[in-house]
C-alpha cells in the first residue's frame, strides 16, 4: 500500500484527532506462549496535545507507542493517522510514514557514534522534506555550542537533547518519546523534559511520552494509564506543571 505524502497538515485543527485507535490488539508469540500485549485499546490523540502514558512494565505502553510510531502493526483493530490506516501499511509505507511524520526519542538515545551532534541531526534533515537546519534544531535544545562534539564527548543528558533535536528537526507531526529520562538523573532528566515541553509548546507538535515515572504525568495535558493491555484510567490534570516544578 502506498503512502501518499503531502497530506493535509495536521497542525491546524486543535480538536482534530491525529491518531485514532479502535480495538487495538497485539499478540506476540513467544515460543509456545502467546503474550497478549494489547487487549483492545480505544484511543484518540489530538493535535498539539501532550500525552503521558503511564503503566508498569508489561502494561502494553511500549507496544502501543510502537504501533503509533509505525514500528509495529496491530494483530487486530485499526489505528489511523490522519486519514490513513496504519494497520494495513506494509514495511515500505511504514518506513515512509516514520520518515515523514514521526520523531522518536529513545531511552538510550540511539545516536550514531561516528557522527557529531550536528551530523546526527543532519542525518535526518538530509532526508526530510521541510526540515529546520541542524543548527536551529540544536539551538532549540540549547546545544548550539556543542554541535561539533561526537556522542562519546557528550553527557547523557546532552546526548538525549541531541536525540530530541534530531527527532524534531524534520518538523514531525508527532513526537514519540519512550522513557526519555529513564537513563538520566533527576536534574538532567528535567532538562530533557523541558526541551520536550518546549517543542510541544512552541512547535505545536503532538507529543506522547511513555514512562513508568508517574511524576512526569504532572506536565501532561492528559495522562493515560495502561494496565494489562488496556486503558485503565484517563486523567486530565487540572494544573499542568512546568518540568522544573517536578521532582522524583
Amino acid at each position: 500500500m502506498a503512502y501518499a505524502s503531502g497530506d493535509a497538515p495536521l497542525n491546524q485543527d486543535p480538536h482534530r484527532a491525529v491518531f485514532q485507535a479502535r480495538g487495538l490488539c497485539k499478540v506476540y508469540q513467544m515460543g509456545e506462549v502467546a503474550v497478549q500485549a494489547l487487549r483492545g485499546v480505544d484511543l484518540d490523540l489530538h493535535q498539539g496535545e501532550f500525552v503521558v502514558f503511564l503503566g508498569p512494565s508489561g502494561s502494553g505502553k511500549s507496544t502501543l507507542l510502537n504501533i503509533l510510531g509505525g514500528l509495529d502493526t496491530p494483530t487486530s483493530g485499526t489505528v489511523r493517522y490522519a486519514d490513513h490506516d496504519l494497520s494495513v501499511y506494509d514495511d515500505a509505507s511504514l518506513t515512509r510514514y516514520r520518515r515523514e511524520h514521526v520523531g522518536f526519542v529513545f531511552q538510550f538515545y540511539n545516536l550514531i557514534p561516528s557522527l557529531t551532534a550536528r551530523e546526527n541531526v543532519a542525518l535526518v534533515t538530509e532526508i526530510a522534506a521541510d526540515p529546520m537546519t541542524p543548527e536551529e534544531a540544536l539551538a532549540l535544545v540549547d546545544l548550539a555550542e556543542r554541535m561539533n562534539h561526537f556522542p562519546a564527548q557528550l553527557s547523557g543528558g546532552e546526548q538525549q537533547r541531541v536525540a530530541i533535536a534530531r527527532a524534531v528537526a524534520k518538523r514531525p507531526a508527532v513526537l514519540l518519546c519512550d522513557e526519555p529520562t529513564g537513563a538520566l538523573d533527576v536534574a538532567t532528566g528535567i532538562k530533557v523534559l523541558e526541551a520536550i515541553a518546549r517543542i510541544n509548546r512552541d512547535l505545536g507538535t503532538t507529543t506522547a511520552v511513555i514512562t513508568h515515572n508517574a511524576v512526569i504525568g504532572d506536565m501532561a495535558d492528559r495522562v493515560i494509564h495502561l494496565s494489562n493491555g488496556l486503558v485503565s484510567i484517563v486523567e486530565c490534570p487540572a494544573h499542568k506543571k512546568a518540568p522544573r516544578e517536578l521532582s522524583w
Binding site: 518506513t95 516514520r98 519512550d178
Partner: protein, 773 residues
C-alpha cells in the same frame, strides 16, 4: 556465527587443500617416477656419438663406478603413416632381440616386443600409436638411412627415457607428428651400417659412484668416436622436464597455502575479537566464579580449533582428491605407465600443525586479552568508541559528503589495521585468480614471440647429416615453395672460465626473413659478420658479456676448438643457443658451404604436394610445421593448465567470499543497533544497506588495484622460479586476466554482500530501542 565459522573453515580448507593437493601430486609423481625408473632400470649416464665399435663397451664397463652398459643404435627418421598427409618424424632406438636389453626397459602396453631376427618389426610408443589409431599388426613406413622400409607394429610401449616425449627442439608434445619406436638391434644396425658398432650408450652406476668422474672418464673414450659429450641423468631431457615440473609444484605448494592461512588467521582474529567483545560479561562471570586465565583462553581456543579442525579435515580430504585428479592429469600428460599414490602422513601432520598454528596465532592476541580482563573491568561495558573526522573529509571533501558516507569513512578509519587487512585479504583473492591464468598468458606470449616474431617460416626441415648447399636449390624448386633460407647447426660445448654448457650453434643467413634474431626489446637484430651471438640467459649462465671471448669446442666433424668473441645477445624464451653467420660457421668448421636444414615459406594450397615431395627426399630427417607447434601449445595448455585455473579461481572466490562475508557479518554485529536506529528514524533498507555494504564496497574497490598489483607480484614470483635453460617465463599478463580477477572478486563480494544484506531485513527495530549499547 555459523556462517562465519563456515566461511573461515572454507578458507582454511582451501589453504590445506592447495598444500595437500600439490604435495600429493608431487609425492605421487615422484614415487611413480622412482618406481618406474627402478623397475625399468632407467640409466644414470647417457651419451651419443658418431660410431664406435662394440668392443669399446668393455672399456666403458671398466670405468670405476659403472654398473651396467647398454650400447644402442639410435636414428632420427622420417616416417610415413598411411592416410596422414603431413610429415611425421620419429626416433628409432635399438633393443636387443635376445631380451638382454639391460637398461631403459620398455613397459609393454600391448602386443609384444620384436622377435629375434625380424627386421621389419617395431614397438611403437603408445602415445604415437594412439594418435594414429595404430594397432599391433598395422604397418607404417620409415626412411631408414635414405631407404624406404615397411615396418610392422608388433607392440606399443612406454619408456622411462621418454616420459616427456618431445621432438628434438620441441617444447610441446605432438604425438601425431613425432613418434618414438624401438626396433631390433641387428636390423637397425644393418640399416645404418652400424653392425658391430653403436652410436649411443646408456650406463647405470653403482650406488655411491661419482657421476661426474664417470663422465670425465667416459668423454675422452668416446671423443675419438665422435662423442657429443655424456650427460648425467639430471640433464636427460625427459627427466629434466619432469624435474622442472616437480620443482614448480614444490614452489606452488609453499606459496599458496601461506596466503590462504594468512587470510584465515586474520579472519579468525577478527571474529574471535568480536566474539570476546560480545562475551565480556560472560568472561567476567566465569572469572568471578574462579575460572583461571588458562581455562578462559582454552575455552576460546577450543572454538578456534574446532573451526580450524573442520577446515583441516575438509582440506585434507579435498586436497587428496584434487591431488589425485591432478596427478592423473600429469600421468596422462607424461604418459606414465601407472600412478603410485602415496599418502604421506608426515605431510598431513605438517599441514595440520601449520594450519592449527596459523589459526591459534591469529586468535592468540584476542584470546589472551580476554584472559587478562579483570572480572570487575569486564562486567562494565566497553568504553564508548571514539570516532574522528576522517582524513578524506579533512582534505576538504566533507561538505560534499552526506552523513551516511561520512559514517562509512569514519568507520573504516577507526580500525585502520583491520581495514587494511580486509583490503589485503580481498587483494589476495584477486592475486590468486591471476596466478591461475598467468601461465596461459605468458606461454601464449612466448609462443607468439617464438612463432610470430622469431620463427616465421611455414615449415622447417633438417637433413640427416650436413648437406651441400645445393640442396637449397632442390627445395626452392619444389612447386609451392615461395622462399627458402638455410642453416647449419653444430653441437658445441661453450666454455668460459670454470663454466661450460653444451648446446648448439646455428649458422644462419644474414638478414634472414624467415628466421630472425631478436634483441632484448624483441626488435630484429642484424647478425654480426664475426663472432657468436648468444641467448641472453646463456650469457648469464656462462658469465660472459658482449666483447668477452668464449671457448667453443665443436662436438662433431674435425672437432675444432677455438676462441670466439661474443658479438651480441639475443632474447629467446625457449632453450638457449648460439648463433653465427652461416659463412662464418662454415669457415670455423673448416668445411665448405654445408647446411643442416632449411626454413621454407610455402603456398598453403600446395602443402600436400610439398609434404609428398619431402617424404621421399632421402636426406630429409625431420619436418616441423610452425602452425602445428602453435596448436600443440594450445592443446598442452588445455590439458594441463585449465585444471589449475579452475582450482585457483574457485579458491580465490572462497577467499574473497570469506573475507567480505566475514567483514560484513562483523560490521552487522557492530553496527546492527545503529542501522536499526536509522530504520526507526525512517531510513529505507536500501539506505542502511548502503551504510553497511558501502564500507565493504569501498574496501573492495581499494583492494582491487592492490590485488592486481599483488597478482602481478605473485606471478612474478612464479616466473622467477621458471628461469632455466629450458625456458624463461616472462611476466606477461593479458588485460583480460586483470579483468577476470577483478570480476571474480567483485562477483564474490557482491554475492556475500547480498547474503548479509538479507539479514538487514531481520533487524529487530523494537529491541534496539530497549537495549543499551
Amino acid at each position: 556465527m555459523k556462517g562465519q565459522a563456515f566461511a573461515i573453515a572454507a578458507v582454511i580448507l582451501c589453504g590445506v587443500a592447495t598444500y595437500v593437493m600439490f604435495l600429493t601430486t608431487l609425492d605421487a609423481l615422484k614415487l611413480t617416477r622412482a618406481t618406474y625408473y627402478a623397475e625399468n632400470r632407467f640409466g644414470d649416464v647417457f651419451a651419443s656419438l658418431k660410431r664406435a665399435p662394440e668392443s669399446l663397451r668393455a672399456r666403458i664397463a671398466a670405468i670405476p663406478g659403472v654398473a651396467q652398459v647398454d650400447t644402442r643404435v639410435v636414428a632420427d627418421v622420417n616416417l610415413d603413416v598411411a592416410e596422414f598427409v603431413e610429415p611425421v618424424t620419429g626416433r628409432l632406438i635399438s633393443i636387443s632381440e635376445d631380451g638382454e636389453h639391460a637398461l631403459n626397459l620398455l613397459h609393454l602396453r600391448a602386443g609384444r616386443l620384436v622377435a629375434p631376427g625380424r627386421e621389419d618389426e617395431v614397438v611403437v610408443s603408445e602415445a604415437f600409436a594412439e594418435a594414429h589409431g595404430l594397432q599391433p599388426g598395422d604397418n607404417l613406413h620409415a626412411i631408414l638411412n635414405g631407404r624406404r622400409k615397411q615396418l610392422t607394429l608388433v607392440g606399443t610401449a612406454l619408456s622411462p627415457e621418454y616420459i616427456h616425449q618431445l621432438r628434438p627442439g620441441g617444447v610441446f608434445p605432438d604425438y601425431q607428428r613425432y613418434g618414438v619406436m624401438w626396433m631390433g638391434r641387428v636390423a637397425l644396425a644393418k640399416a645404418y651400417d652400424l653392425e658391430g658398432a653403436f652410436n649411443d650408450v646408456v650406463l647405470s652406476l653403482q650406488s655411491g659412484a661419482n657421476t661426474q668422474s664417470v663422465i670425465d672418464e667416459l668423454d675422452p673414450l668416446l671423443e675419438t668416436y665422435g662423442g657429443y659429450g655424456a650427460i648425467d641423468r639430471t640433464d636427460q631431457r625427459s627427466h629434466r622436464f619432469l624435474s622442472e615440473e616437480f620443482r614448480q609444484l614444490e614452489h606452488l605448494s609453499n606459496m599458496f597455502p601461506s596466503l590462504f592461512l594468512g587470510v584465515a588467521a586474520f579472519l579468525l582474529n577478527v571474529v574471535t575479537s568480536r566474539l570476546i567483545g560480545m562475551q565480556r560479561e560472560q568472561i567476567a562471570a566465569l572469572k568471578a566464579f574462579g575460572y583461571g586465565n588458562g581455562a578462559v583462553m582454552w575455552h576460546y581456543l577450543k572454538l578456534v580449533l574446532v573451526i580450524a579442525g573442520a577446515g583441516i579435515i575438509g582440506g585434507i580430504a579435498f586436497g587428496v582428491w584434487l591431488g589425485e585428479q591432478l596427478a592423473g592429469i600429469y600421468t596422462e600428460f607424461f604418459r606414465l605407465p601407472y600412478l603410485r599414490l602415496a599418502l604421506d602422513t608426515q605431510m598431513l601432520v605438517v599441514a595440520t600443525l601449520i594450519s592449527s598454528a596459523a589459526a591459534v596465532a591469529g586468535t592468540l592476541f584476542a584470546v589472551s586479552r580476554a584472559a587478562r580482563l579483570r572480572p570487575a573491568e569486564a562486567m562494565r561495558p566497553e568504553a564508548p568508541v571514539r570516532y574522528r573526522v576522517s582524513l578524506i573529509e579533512r582534505l576538504g571533501l566533507r561538505r560534499w559528503l552526506g552523513q551516511p558516507t561520512r559514517m562509512i569513512l569514519r568507520h573504516i578509519q577507526r580500525r585502520p589495521v583491520k581495514s587494511l587487512l580486509t583490503i589485503i585479504g580481498i587483494a589476495v583473492a584477486a592475486g590468486i585468480t591471476m596466478t591461475g591464468r598467468f601461465q596461459n598468458d605468458t606461454v601464449r606470449y612466448m609462443v607468439d614471440v617464438q612463432y610470430g616474431m622469431a620463427q616465421r617460416e611455414d615449415l622447417s626441415l633438417v637433413f640427416i647429416e650436413p648437406t651441400s648447399r645445393k640442396a637449397q636449390f632442390a627445395l626452392q624448386s619444389l612447386p609451392g615453395v615461395l622462399h627458402t633460407e638455410v642453416f647449419r647447426s653444430v653441437p658445441v660445448r661453450l666454455r668460459h672460465e670454470q663454466r661450460s654448457y653444451r648446446t648448439g650453434i646455428r649458422g644462419v643467413e644474414p638478414s634472414g626473413d624467415l628466421q630472425r634474431l631478436l634483441n632484448v626489446n624483441l626488435q630484429p637484430v642484424d647478425l654480426p659478420v664475426e663472432g657468436v651471438v648468444l641467448t641472453d640467459f646463456l650469457a648469464t649462465m656462462l658469465e660472459v658479456r658482449v666483447g668477452d671471448s668464449l671457448m667453443v669446442e665443436v662436438l662433431e666433424g674435425s672437432r675444432p676448438v677455438r676462441e670466439v668473441t661474443v658479438a651480441a645477445l639475443v632474447k629467446e624464451y625457449l632453450g638457449v643457443s648460439g648463433y653465427m653467420d652461416l659463412t662464418a660457421l662454415n669457415r670455423f668448421m673448416g668445411e665448405g658451404p654445408a647446411i643442416s636444414g632449411a626454413y621454407l615459406a610455402v603456398d598453403k594450397q600446395a602443402l600436400p604436394e610439398i609434404y609428398a615431395a619431402l617424404k621421399v627426399m632421402p636426406r630429409v630427417a625431420g619436418v616441423t610445421l610452425r602452425e602445428q607447434e602453435i596448436k600443440n601449445f594450445n592443446k598442452t595448455m588445455a590439458e594441463t593448465m585449465l585444471f589449475f585455473t579452475y582450482v585457483a579461481t574457485l579458491f580465490a572466490m572462497v577467499i574473497a567470499f570469506g573475507v567480505v562475508y566475514n567483514s560484513a557479518r562483523i560490521a552487522l554485529m557492530e553496527r546492527g543497533r545503529e542501522l536499526a536506529s536509522l530504520r526507526v528514524l525512517g531510513f529505507t533498507r536500501a539506505e542502511i544497506s548502503y551504510i553497511l555494504l558501502g564500507e565493504l564496497a569501498a574496501l573492495t574497490l581499494v583492494a582491487l588495484p592492490l590485488g592486481l598489483l599483488m597478482g602481478r607480484a605473485l606471478c612474478d614470483m612464479i616466473a622467477q622460479n621458471l628461469q632455466t635453460d629450458l625456458y624463461r617465463v616472462p611476466l606477461i599478463l593479458d588485460p583480460a586476466t586483470y579483468a577476470f580477477a577483478a570480476t571474480v572478486v567483485l562477483v564474490s563480494a557482491v554475492l556475500s554482500g547480498l547474503l548479509v544484506r538479507r539479514r538487514l531485513d531481520e533487524l529487530d527495530l523494537i529491541a534496539v530501542l530497549k537495549t543499551r549499547e
